[in-house]
Each structure stands twice: as structure tokens, then as C-alpha cells.
Symmetry: C2
Subunit: 449 residues, 2 copies
Amino acid sequence: MHSVKKVLLKPSYYDKWENFKISGWVSSNRGNNKMRFINLNDGSTVNNLQLVIKGEKFDFGLLDTVKIGAAIEVVGTLVATPSAPQPIELVVSEFKLLKNTEDFPIQNQEISLELLRELPHIRHRTNILRAAMLIRSTLAQEIHRYFIANDFYYMSSPIITSNDGEGAGETFNVDDNSKNPFFGGKKSTLGVTGQLHAESYAIGMKKVYTFAPTFRAEHSNTKKHAAEFWMVEPEVAFYDLNDVIHLADDMLKVVIRNTLAKNKFEFDFLVKHHDQELINRLNKFLDNELHIIDYKDAIAELAKVKDKFENKDIKFGLDLATEHERYISEQLFNGPVAVINFPKDFKAFYMYQNDDNKTVAAFDLLVPGIGELIGGSQREANYDKLLKRINELNIPADDLSWYLDLRKFGDSGSAGFGLGFERLVMYVTGVDNIRDVIPYPRTAGNIRM
Amino acid sequence: MHSVKKVLLKPSYYDKWENFKISGWVSSNRGNNKMRFINLNDGSTVNNLQLVIKGEKFDFGLLDTVKIGAAIEVVGTLVATPSAPQPIELVVSEFKLLKNTEDFPIQNQEISLELLRELPHIRHRTNILRAAMLIRSTLAQEIHRYFIANDFYYMSSPIITSNDGEGAGETFNVDDNSKNPFFGGKKSTLGVTGQLHAESYAIGMKKVYTFAPTFRAEHSNTKKHAAEFWMVEPEVAFYDLNDVIHLADDMLKVVIRNTLAKNKFEFDFLVKHHDQELINRLNKFLDNELHIIDYKDAIAELAKVKDKFENKDIKFGLDLATEHERYISEQLFNGPVAVINFPKDFKAFYMYQNDDNKTVAAFDLLVPGIGELIGGSQREANYDKLLKRINELNIPADDLSWYLDLRKFGDSGSAGFGLGFERLVMYVTGVDNIRDVIPYPRTAGNIRM
């Protein structure tokens, strides 16, 4: 069995490939009772293969009944058609209708993204969702390939945990229905991050990463938030803030470049039908070197143009909003920027405490068009400083005694970051609602299928 | 920064590599106040790099205090030592103690696996756990590489779901602490499989796979069961039973072969210290072609030698136990075997119903030394037959209406399988307790860290 994507990528190779066999689904069917043109999609790309069916051996009565979505298998001769809109077509010699459809719920491509959300089991069979989901898969696979190529250990942090990494509190509880609580009555929640456990493996394995689902029970109903989403979290022992910023920049650039190459047809489709500026925006990131700016310097720059912003109260201590982030990356640098050394008050307990006693060695990686894409930090490796911060923030230190203990056992520091994977998919596809870049989105009140 | 694994793999390349810089952790420290031998492990392999420290510039008083587990950074000249037990050593020119340890809880390698389970945040720093965990990571990465190379779509099936795929019932419930149930009071459990959702994507994407955590609230306390484990579930549209059996066999062979090559030192260690027969057992699988035997023929073969078994009641309807499975793969075929066409009574509702009305197009892949490693099936694509089976088994059809609907919309059949990832790691490492092949195991009553 062959793939539509592969033959479309090199159409000139395939002049007169006989006995070419392919299966897939019908995306359109037109013609008359002497000749039919059927577009076949096999899931490998948004693009279709045009089937040409003519000759007395075919049952044109049957062919007329073949509906959008029907499963078919065909054999034929692949021929280059340089003068036609499509680069190749398949002149069919055998046609098999494997399964027709009844009342396929998606009859045309104009159906709205909102309506498609009611059909998560079918919507990937539209061009827009197919393009987004194919790119999603390539991005995920390229992330694994990047870490494999760079000798990272793939870490399975636990999903059910008694630690809530950020101390954020908005977690899901887990238990079974039996009379005895499954975990003996101990706190058992769905993890909001794999970072703390990944840190324990970085000490010993040196370079590790997680790529796994994480969960937040946020009742907010926005385009950006889902209750279940995937996170990529590398953690590297002996790395400092500067090292990990460059890891983040390099990983993103390699992964996005490879994805652009592998999903050419999907990006062509998105630019044509969904977001003209998509490739230009991505190139602004890919073609420009990363800048690094200290948070306090970024604040000074923002203060100069404070009238541009809705939130004009620009001073040390401001938690940057998207409007500020976009100004920094789009206006100030016109490319990717890492803002570093944030006030400790709005960052997590585990971050490395700078000597000024006010800031931590954290970074946010901002990219043109979306703002923050990645957040990370060097971790505090000093037991006493870490414990003091945990106590200041009233986080129960008992729960974290194992994490504190790491600092006693040859932990000379590590650094890492978190990338919300769906956020990356949104950025790379230009699709602006998280519900449309994950197959079965879970949000407050919604657990469809 | 360099990696111990890479230099140990090609020691002869590195005669006199000056200014070689490496960081890692001390695994032993011996010598006197004129010369010290420190073994450094950097997490890339179980093997260590021997550091030779001599000369007046070093502080031998400090060197004497460097404990097992301490983090160090060294620069030196890498020299080949063909006559010594270790192939290369590093003659150190600069030594930096980054962080010593206090009372490192693992002082020798003889500590038992049971005791190590109390220290999941540290135990990967022993040779046995390090070997198992490094192989685990390679296996996972090779699985992704296999599917990438074969043009599979990486599917994110939802984790929180209102469907319990197998109808098994032993599921965890998920909710938050708020007054309003997060999902509006709808059933919300942790998925026991990603298969049903993956099937929906196979129809449209053709070749898909999941690789994600799954959950079962089994209170049983065995070596094989964990409440949280990772599953690999490919699903391919247009595939039948035979196609998917060969996919399973090929995937396992490619993944295991590549892992053997990439983790040479870890396998050497395991064979020497843990399981002499490990490689021979794996080769029995790798070097032998897959056999396929019908369940009823397997029963006939087992009946001939029924006195060998604890369960001697060998007849059609028997759910094969490990002793039967191992006899079939080890004695009958001395290699991998797919047993096919099982009685429908002990298989899941979604399996393709054979014409005999008694069996389903399912398979179990048995391998020497462990028994069943993979289970899978062709799926029932006929709406009426599927609905009838769902009703016979008293599964609420309403919950599955979306899954049934797939059969109306161009589903001409698909086939897939499930591989319990930890089961694979146990098979490939010879480590026989699931608690020792996953970083932070979750079992009934145990949610350590």
C-alpha cells in the first residue's frame, strides 16, 4: 500500500507507475455515467489523489452512489499531469467500494470549528482539522527525535502524585469506588507537572525530558486553557540559566524547521485558507537569533511606551501580560527573546535565588505573534535557601522532604523548562483555540466521548 | 561536555584527547595521599570512567573527603589503556568538587531491590536500576522511531474519559474539590486504554498509534500489576488480523534489536550480574520467525501433554494461563507464536466476529520466557453485529454511540494491538517486578513521592 503524501512530494518520479494500489476515503465524487473523478484522501496529508475512472468495465451506477467519506480501494496507473491543477492522477483499473457512508455529518468544508467540536470523533476528516492534527503529530515526533539525537533520557514522571509541583492547588483528585481508598487515604492527585520527579532523575541521568499529559482543574473557560494537556519538560544537571535558554531556543528552532519541511502541504493549506501570515510569523522566529534581556531592563523599555498598553502600571513587580510580551518580541527585537531574572514573588519556590535577594534565575521565552511559549529556570540547589523559601510560601515541607533531600546527595544544580505542547501546536498552526489542536479536548463541563 | 558512553564505545579513537571535560557523580574513590582513582558516572551508561589524579597541584586532603554520589567536574587527557581492565582512563589536570554528599543512602550495590523501592528518587543511581531505566528509555524512544519511520500518526487519546474501553470497570474516578463537579456530573474516569479513540483517528489518518499512561484501580498486589502504566496502541485502517500480527512481530523485533545495540553496556551488566540467560532468551525471539496457530489447534496440542500443567482442564473455552503460553512458545515452537481466533466469551466486545459465531479475530503474541507480550485484534466493522454484542454483554450502548457511529461513516475495518510498555521493559531487562522498571510505581496503598 502506498501513501498519497509520498507520491505527491515527488510527482515527476511516477510517470506511468502501473499497478499502483491505494486505499483511503472519498473526499469528492463528480462526473457522469461515462467518466468519474473521485478525490481520495488517505490521511497522510491534506492533499488528495485524483482518481480517473472511465471505461465499460466499471459500474457507473454504483460509482454514482459513492459518498463523501466512503472507504475505497483502487488499483491503477499513476501518471504525471504537469498541465493539470493536480500534479499526478491515478487512472483506475480496479475499483473496490469497501464501505459507503450513511449521512456523513460533514458534507462540506465550510462547517465552523465550533460545530466541529461537537464531532471530535469525525472532525479530523476535514481539511482544517486534518492539517492541524497532522502538524501536531509531526511536532510531537520531532520533539522526541530532537531529544534522542541529543542523548536525553526519556523520563516517565508519575501521573498520579501526592505532590502538586507548583503549589498551585487547582488539581484533580483521583480515587476508585471501593470502600478502602486506593492509596490508603494519602493525597492522590493528577500531576500538574513532571518537573520535580524529572529533577530527581536529572541527578544521575544528567539530561532528561518528560513528554506526558498534565492536568489542571481550572474552571476558566478561555481559548488557551484545557483541563488536560501535554507538557514537554527537559531537565539537565550541571546546566545553568544560560545553558537552558539556549537549549529551549535550539529545540524549538530544530523542531519547527523539521515540521515545516515534513508538512509542506499542510502549511500550504493553512496559509491559503486560514492564516496568510503564518509562515512569515514563524520565519521571524526561525531566522532571528535569540536575544536575552533582563526583566528590569524590559520593564524600563516598556515604561517608555506605557501608553501603548491597557495595563499602563509598568514597574518592577509587574507580571507581564501578553500585550507586554508581544511588544518586547515584536517591536523591541522583532524575533525571539528570553526575559530573565524575574521578581521571585510571582515565580515558583524551586527557582534559583539570585544574589539580589529579589529575583530568581527564571526565563520566559517570548516569540513574535503569541508571546510566551516556554518558561523555565535554574533550580535552587542550596538546601537551606530552598527550605526557607518553601516555608515563606507556606508550602507543606513534609510533602517535599524527598525533593529537599536531593540537595543533600550530589545535586550541584540543574535547569529545565516547560513547554505546553498544545500552545506550541497553536503557535505553529495559527489555530487559536486549544480545543482545535487536541483530539478530544477536556474543559470545564466538557468530556465529550 | 562529553559523554562516558560515547568514549567507552570507541576507546581506541581517543588516545591522548587533551582538555577533555566531563561532569558527573562519583561512584567510587580509592587511593592514598599521592594518587587517587575515582570512578565517575555521568548517567549515559552503567559503566564508569576511571579518573587518575596525581601530582602536587591537587589537594589530597579534599580528595579524600569526596564521597560516593558527589557531583564533580574534571578536565584531563583521555588515554587508551588496552592492558588495564578499563579500556580508557582520564588523567586529570583540573578537579572541581561541585557538591559533596551527606550520608548518601546507597553506600553499596548489594542493597536489595525491595529496599531500593523506598528510595524511588535515588535508586536509579545504582547499577541495576540504572541499567533497567536506561533500557526503558531506549525502548520508548525506539518505539517512537519505529512508528515515525513507518509513517504513523502519533495520536493523543484522552486520559480523562467517560468511556471505559474494555468494560472492565476497575477505573479511577477523577474530580476536583469545587462545589460544582468539574465535568458537570458526567462520568469522568482515567482511561484504561486509548484504543477506542485511536480507532476514530485510524479512520481518516489510516495508521495511528498511541503511547501514553493508562490506569487500572486493581487492588491486587502482584509483581505484574501497577495502577499506572504506559501502553503502546497502534491501530491501522484497512488492516486485518494477519496484517496486524506481522506489524506486532516486526515492531518488537526492530525495537529490541536497536535497543540491544544502543545499550550494550547495560545488557553486559545485566547478563553478568542479574540474568545470565537474558540475551539467549531474547535471541530465541529475535532469530526465529513468527508462527501462527489457531487457538483450537493450540488447545489440541496442550491437551496431549495436559499432565505437565497445574491447570489440566484443557478444552475449548480455556483462558490460557502463563504455563500454557510458555509451553506453546518454548516447547512447541521455540520462538514467537501468535495464537489466533479465541473464544469470544473471554475477549472484548469490539473484536471482529468470525463466521463460526464462536470465536473472534483476536491474537495473543507469546514469546519464550514470559508468555503473552501483546494482545490485539481486528475490529468488528459491522454496526449491527457490534451493537448486538454490546447488548449481549450488557454494556451501556448509549456511552458508545459515538463509537458505533464510526461504523456508519466509511469504517471498512481496522486492526490494532496493545503492548503494556512496562511488560516489555521487564521482558527485555529480565527484571521481574513491575515496581523496578518504572521510576515512581503506583500500586494499591503506594503513592510514594
